[in-house]
Subunit: 146 residues, 2 copies
């Protein structure tokens, strides 16, 4: 978070003490190991983090479905983890991944971040699509019942 | 979050409808525009987001200090924003930035993510420093009283 001083042990130590929030979660950023593009922001509970470290594939905790989530379990689009980093205050995780199938977003796109924001007229915000081509058709990949 | 279907308007539209959480915040990831390295994960309230879009410099909301935070206001290490993206469900922001002074972390390092995690013995986790050289001395930059 780049904010709180006076945490020498947490910040300068080599002891793993993840700081889960009130819901038991950490924030996790996955980037494309080849390009550095941010693919998605998601959350991990302790089990997801441990499974990710142990398996080398990304596991998250789905807040909407309230369950552990092996990324790619429905779509086949697994994330192979090439590096795991944690931040200064141990409440955020960065995964460098190889995205199998090329798409991390459930909309079928490479990244969840397929829209750019810029300053519009009269203090407004302009939204535009960027790198928004679909790699797969979500209707074909996520069958009913999933 | 790559999870919730059936949000065609939020996901496929060009209308800016940021989904702030119960605390009025979005999650924000800042990456180095040149290298793709994740520099930090922080939060933005509506004012921080609007100031970032309007000014081209990164503003966040500090949860620990409970105040708007112009990144670099104490250290001089401003983040110049080269691109702003939002994710599919409009609750996360990705900033590509040029980090003035080279260090984004309050510990004096380039990135807040200066430690790697890997599988240790007996199911444990091994922590190791990576890219952990200090660009500045925090004690010299953050004077007492700040």
């Amino acid at each position: 978070m780049a904010a709180e001083p006076n945490q020498p042990y947490i910040e300068e130590g080599l002891v793993f003490q993840p700081k889960f929030d009130a819901s038991g979660l950490l924030t996790c950023v996955a980037t494309d190991a080849a390009t550095g593009d941010v693919l998605m922001v998601a959350h991990m509970n302790e089990e997801a983090l441990r499974k990710t470290i142990a398996s080398g594939e990304a596991w998250y905790y789905s807040r909407s479905r309230q369950k552990l989530w092996h990324k790619g379990e429905s779509s086949g689009h697994i994330q192979r983890v090439t590096e795991i980093r944690m931040d200064c205050d141990q409440d955020a995780i960065w995964l460098r991944v190889e995205q199998l199938g090329g798409a991390s977003c459930h909309t079928g796109r490479h990244s969840c971040f397929y829209r750019a924001l810029s300053a519009g007229e009269q203090g407004g915000v302009t939204v535009s699509f960027v790198d928004a081509n679909r790699v797969f058709d979500p209707a074909a990949v996520y069958k009913k019942g999933h």
